[in-house]
C-alpha cells in the first residue's frame, strides 16, 4: 500500500484484492472468457476491442500501469497478454488476453491507451510476429530491419542465412534535412560511444544545440536471453542466465526474479534463513549497481576517468569482494537456487560479518565524500537541476519504475508494495524525490544506497544470532521440476533499475514453454524522448546517464 494520498478505493478493488466479478461486469460483452493465472485473473477479449477494454480498465478501474506485454505462439493461435497493475498498489493485478488466429495474426494496438505499449508491441511483432493494427510505428526493434522471420515463433528456422545492412540512417525529419532554409542536423550517437553505457544507438536530430527528435535504436546486444531460457531446464540451467541481464551487477536481484516466479509456479517454499541471506545479497548488489550508476553518471557529466568514478569503483571493489566471499564469483553469482541458496555464509562466519560491517561503517564517510564531490558541487547542480524533466504522469504512461519513477514522485517499490523475501520484517524506507529531474534521480539512488546499508546491517544482525540448528538454506525441491501444464505466472521483483518481471508458461515438461522478461531498463529508456526533446544535446547525454540503463537488460 502506498503511504501517501490514499486514493478512494474504487468499486473494483476491495481490501482482499481485485473484485474480478465486478470488473467482468464493467467490461460486459467484451469478455469472451476468463483465464486464471497464478498472479491474477485474466479476461479473454476480441482482437479488435483492445483499446476499448484497456481504456475502461485504465479510466474506470484505475489500472494505470501496463507492466508488460507478452506475446506467444500456440499450435492453433497467437496470443498477446497485457499485464496491468496499479501504481498506487502493486498487488492489484489483472491480465488481458488477446488471442488471434494463426493465419491472420492482427490485433488492435494498445499504444493510444498506454504509451509504453508502443515499444512492447514492437518487440512482440519483432520476435513473435503479431501485427498490431493502428500502431504508430510498427517496425522491428531488437533485430535488424532486414531480418527474415520471427525467431520466437514456432516454425522459425534458425539455420537460415540472414543479411544485415550497414548503411547511413535517414533523417526522420526529412523535409528539413539538407534544406537550405533549415538548420536541423542528423547525428548518430553510438552504437560505439562512451556516453551510451554500452551499445546503444541514438538517432538524434538537432536544431543548433537543441534536440528536435531522438529515437533510441536498440538491439545491439540482443543475445536471445528468452530463447536460452526456453531451452533450459528450470532447476539448474536457467539460473546462470539472469546474472547476465543486468550485469551492473544486479545478479542476485535478477536471480531472485526468476526464483520468485518459479517458486510461485511450482509452489516451492523458501526457508526463512535463506530469505534473509537473499535479502542481504540483493541489497549488496543494489548498492554495487547504484555505485556504478553514480560513477558513470558523473563520468558523463564531468568528463574522463576522474576522481568520482575512481571512488565509486573503489567502493564497488569492496562490495564485489564481499559478494565474492558469499557466492564465489565477482559478478556472475549463480548463487540462488529454487527454494533457497546454494550454500551457507562462508566460514569463518565472524570474518564475513566483520568484513561487511567494516564496509558499512566506512559507508557514511564515503557517502559524505560523494555529497561533497557531487551533489553540493555547483557545476554538477547547474548541469542536472531542472534538466531532463520527467513529470509523474509521463513516467506512469511510459511504465517507468524504480529510481526513475521514484525521482518523479511516484511512490512505488515492490519491496514494500508486494513484499517478498524478508523485507517486510525489516526497518527501512522508500526513497522518493519530487524534483523529476536528473538531480533527483541521482539523489534517489544515493538515498537508496543508505537504505540498502540499513537493510544489510539488520540482516547481518539477524544472521549472526540465528540458532545453529535452524540454518536451513534450501527446501526440498524435486530433482527434475515439472510444473503442471498450462500454468501461467507473471511475477516481479524490485531490481536496481525497477520492476524486473518474469512471465512463464509451463507445458508439463522440464523447460518453460514461454519465458518472457519484463526489463525495467527497456521501459525506462523509452522515456528518453520525453525527457530530452527540446533540451540541449548535452542534457540529452546527462538524461541518458541518469536513466542508468544496462544494455544487456534493455536488449536481453
Amino acid at each position: 500500500m502506498s503511504l501517501e494520498e490514499p486514493q478512494p478505493e474504487s468499486t473494483y478493488v476491495t481490501d482482499e484484492g481485485v473484485d474480478y466479478d465486478a470488473l467482468e461486469s464493467l467490461l460486459g460483452a467484451h469478455v469472451l472468457g476468463r483465464e486464471t493465472h497464478l498472479n491474477a485473473e485474466a479476461f479473454v477479449i476480441r482482437p479488435d476491442e483492445v483499446q476499448e477494454v484497456l481504456g475502461l480498465l485504465k479510466d474506470e478501474a484505475g489500472f494505470d500501469y501496463l507492466s508488460c506485454v507478452t506475446a506467444q505462439e500456440y499450435e492453433d493461435r497467437y496470443e498477446s497478454i497485457y499485464h496491468l497493475k496499479k501504481y498506487g498498489d502493486m498487488t492489484r493485478e489483472v491480465g488481458v488476453v488477446v488471442p488471434v488466429p494463426r493465419d491472420d495474426p492482427v490485433s488492435q494496438t494498445a499504444a493510444p491507451v498506454y504509451k509504453t505499449a508502443d515499444w512492447h508491441e514492437r518487440e512482440a511483432y519483432d520476435l513473435v510476429g503479431i501485427e498490431y493494427e493502428g500502431h504508430p510505428d510498427l517496425r522491428r526493434i531488437l533485430l535488424p530491419e532486414t531480418w527474415q522471420g520471427h525467431p520466437l515463433g514456432l516454425d522459425y528456422d534458425q539455420d537460415k542465412p540472414q543479411i544485415v545492412p550497414y548503411r547511413e540512417h535517414v533523417n526522420p525529419i526529412e523535409g528539413d534535412y539538407r534544406d537550405s532554409d533549415s538548420d536541423t542536423m542528423f547525428i548518430n550517437i553510438g552504437p560505439h560511444h562512451p556516453a551510451t553505457h554500452g551499445v546503444l544507438h541514438l538517432k538524434a536530430v538537432l536544431d543548433g544545440e537543441q534536440v528536435v527528435d531522438v529515437d533510441p535504436d536498440i538491439g545491439y546486444l540482443h543475445r536471445c536471453e528468452e530463447q536460452m531460457c526456453q531451452q533450459s531446464t528450470y532447476r539448474h540451467q536457467i539460473m546462470p542466465y539472469p546474472d547476465r541481464w543486468d550485469y551492473a551487477p544486479g545478479g542476485l536481484m535478477n536471480e531472485w526474479a526468476y526464483a520468485r516466479a518459479v517458486e510461485d509456479l511450482a509452489d516451492i517454499d523458501v526457508p526463512e534463513y535463506a530469505q534473509v541471506i537473499r535479502t542481504m545479497g540483493a541489497e549488496l548488489c543494489r548498492m554495487c549497481s547504484h555505485m556504478l550508476a553514480l560513477g558513470t553518471f558523473c563520468l558523463d557529466i564531468y568528463g574522463d576517468f576522474t576522481a568520482i568514478f575512481m571512488y565509486a569503483m573503489r567502493d564497488r571493489e569492496k562490495l564485489q569482494s564481499i559478494l565474492e566471499d558469499l557466492t564465489g564469483q565477482r559478478m556472475m553469482f549463480n548463487y540462488l537456487r529454487l527454494g533457497g541458496v546454494a550454500w551457507d555464509l562462508p566460514e569463518p562466519r565472524e570474518e564475513f560479518f566483520e568484513k561487511t560491517r567494516d564496509f558499512l561503517e566506512d559507508l557514511p564517510v564515503a557517502t559524505q565524500e560523494y555529497h561533497d564531490l557531487i551533489t553540493s558541487n555547483e557545476i554538477f547542480q547547474i548541469r542536472t537541476v531542472g534538466t531532463g524533466v520527467l513529470p509523474p504522469e509521463a513516467a506512469k504512461e511510459y511504465g517507468a519504475t524504480g529510481p526513475v519513477a521514484r525521482a518523479s514522485g511516484v511512490d512505488m517499490d515492490l519491496r514494500r508494495d508486494d513484499p517478498y523475501g524478508y523485507y517486510d520484517e525489516l526497518d527501512w524506507e522508500v526513497a522518493v524525490e519530487h524534483g523529476c529531474d536528473n538531480y533527483s534521480r541521482l539523489l534517489v539512488r544515493m538515498r537508496e544506497v543508505e537504505q540498502s546499508a540499513k537493510i544489510v546491517e539488520q540482516c547481518i544482525d539477524l544472521l549472526e544470532e540465528w540458532p545453529e540448528e535452524d540454518r536451513e538454506i534450501q527446501s526440498n525441491v524435486p530433482r527434475t521440476l515439472k510444473p503442471d501444464p498450462d500454468t501461467e505466472v507473471y511475477r516481479g521483483v524490485e531490481a536496481a533499475k525497477g520492476e524486473l518481471g518474469i512471465y512463464m508458461r509451463s507445458d508439463g515438461t522440464a523447460k518453460p514453454a514461454r519465458f518472457k522478461i519484463r526489463s525495467p531498463c527497456f521501459s525506462n529508456l523509452s522515456t528518453l524522448g520525453e525527457m530530452a526533446e527540446g533540451e540541449y544535446v548535452a542534457d540529452l547525454i546527462a538524461s541518458l546517464g541518469s536513466l542508468d540503463i544496462i544494455l544487456g537488460e534493455v536488449d536481453r
Partner: protein, 236 residues
Amino acid sequence: MSSEKSPRQSIIDGKPAQTKTRDARMGEGADNRFNSPLREAFGTSPFILTKFDQFLNWCRGSSMFMLQFGIACCSLEMMHTYAVKHDLDRFGSGVPRASPRQADTIIIPGTVVSKFAPRMKRVYDQMAEPKFVVNMGSCAISGGPFQEGYNVVKGAEEVIPVDIHVPGCPPRPEALVYGVVKLQERIANGESSPVVVKPYELEPFGDLEQDEVVEKLTEQLDDDDLVMRYNWADSP
C-alpha cells in the same frame, strides 16, 4: 680505426665512465633503481645497440592505447581493470581512448550479435595500423553461454582477427591484466599471428550471390548498400 678492436670492444676497454655526479646525487646507501639490468649488461656504455624495428616493437608493446569499447558484462570487469586496485596503467596500457583513430588495441568485452558485428568491423577498420585485438570472455571467443542463440555471432574471430583470448565469464581483472601483458610481450618480441576463422565481410549487396534470402530483400536494399551476410548453418 684499429682493425683488431671492434668499436664495441674499444668502448668496453676504455676509461671508466664519470659517475661522480650521479653518485653524489644518489647519496650514501643509495638504491640501485637507476642501474637497470640493461645498464648492467652494457657495463659503462651509455649506448644500446639494437635493430630499429626491434626498438619500435618494444615501444609499441610498452605503450598501448586501448579503445574505450564496452559491449556487455565483461566491460564492467574491464572498467575495474582500468580503475583503482587493478590499474592496468601500471603496465603502460591503461589509458582508454574514446576514438578508434587514437587507439591501437581493442578489447572485445562481450557478446557480438548480428546487428553489432558490422559496426564493430567498422570501428576496427577505423583504428590505425598496427592494431591488436584482445578477446575478453567466452562470448567473444565462441558465443559463450549464448552460442545457440539465433542472433549471436559465434565469436569475434568470425569478423576481425584476434591476437589474444582471455577465457572466463567474465574473466577476473587479474586475468585480463595477464592477457594484456602477454600481448605486450608478443608485440615487443615481434610475434603476432592473428587468425580469422571465417570472415564475415562487409560487401555491397549487389555482389551477393542471388538466392532466396537475397531476392526477398531486393526491394529493401540498394546494390551499393554494404551488408554482412551470416550463414548460420556453416558456423562452427
